[in-house]
Subunit: 166 residues, 2 copies
DNA sequence: AGCTATAGATGTACTATACAACTACCCGGA
DNA sequence: TCCGGGTAGTTGTATAGTACATCTATAGCT
């Protein structure tokens, strides 16, 4: 193995390790930040905002969750008053999910908290590094252009790619 | 707000969003990759390897987990034959945890799988980008040098800083 | 009309987690 | 010396998130 190959392997290992560190902290982190909204709830509400309303099925496909999981999450978010269901006129099996004003509100609050937490970690970074980090993360999450990421099934990975490049 | 400030804010938002995307996928991802070892189990075993053996307390502090959680994780890993407990000679309340050969083995396998998954996502990246991404992630996880990350308590954040720069 | 596919809800089970209470042990001071 | 407060770990209990299987109602094609 050449020096360059060794360096490359070590960098990949570092990325693997650091992503693991981050992932391990993320949920507890999100929970402490805003007990009202878990990481998943936050993501679901955020998608409702982005999409301007969608079906539970869409959320399940996009985030690789079982439809039963989404069904219960939606129930909980409805109970909290953050979203409402409206009968879909064109398909009586489905229901359009929409953010309520309260949902829009809490989403903005949580987004702001998360933004602040990230900004604090980035304190002292140069603009170029911040911009570069953002770009590399987007590229990483988008995954190989050649479809499929070798670890999750096709149906799961594609919607995520769609999301990150939206 | 100047153009530069706007660009900066958008980059921070992108980082926040991409980290969220990543975190949401990580656990399910880890589970599919190696059902034997969850993300947490993997991290605990990895720390045993790095440290050459430690106490359950150390794991709890380092990873911000409750000692009961660690206790049960350790039980499970012992049942699977991946670690063993040895009475600590200098403190009879405590027990040193050590990887077994089977534990060392599975850890190597999972590390390899994770490495491969990451490498696949990085396929087509230039060496400089890979190295730069690794460096930025390490810096991000290490957090602001000024101690405390504004989101978790002091006791939790420090061990993690220690870990990422070990 | 009838068959199959789909959106969602519900029953059930499992895992990870936290908090509280408990046991066993450690150590420093009166 | 033993007593009290601190510490390592276990166990009881509760909760959240998740998946899989099953069920209902509806859609849409032939």
């Amino acid at each position: 193995m050449t020096d360059s190959e060794t360096r490359h392997r070590e960098a990949v290992d570092a990325i693997q390790r650091e992503m693991t560190v981050f992932a391990r902290r993320a949920r507890a982190f999100a929970g402490r930040l805003h007990p009202e909204l878990t990481l998943v709830s936050y993501t679901l509400l955020a998608h409702l905002e982005d999409s301007g309303g969608c079906l539970a099925k869409d959320l399940a496909v996009r985030y690789g969750l079982d439809k039963s999981t989404v069904s219960r999450q939606v129930q909980a978010l409805e109970r909290l008053g953050f979203l409402e269901r409206r009968p879909a006129p064109e398909d009586h099996r489905a229901q359009m999910l929409h953010l309520t004003p309260a949902g829009t509100d809490i989403l903005a609050q949580v987004t702001e908290s998360r933004h602040a937490a990230v900004a604090e970690r980035l304190a002292g970074w140069g603009d170029a590094d911040v911009a570069g980090f953002a770009e590399l993360l987007i590229r990483y999450n988008a995954g190989p252009e050649t479809s499929g990421d070798g670890s999750i099934t096709q149906e799961y990975s594609n919607p995520d790619i769609a999301e990150t490049v939206r």
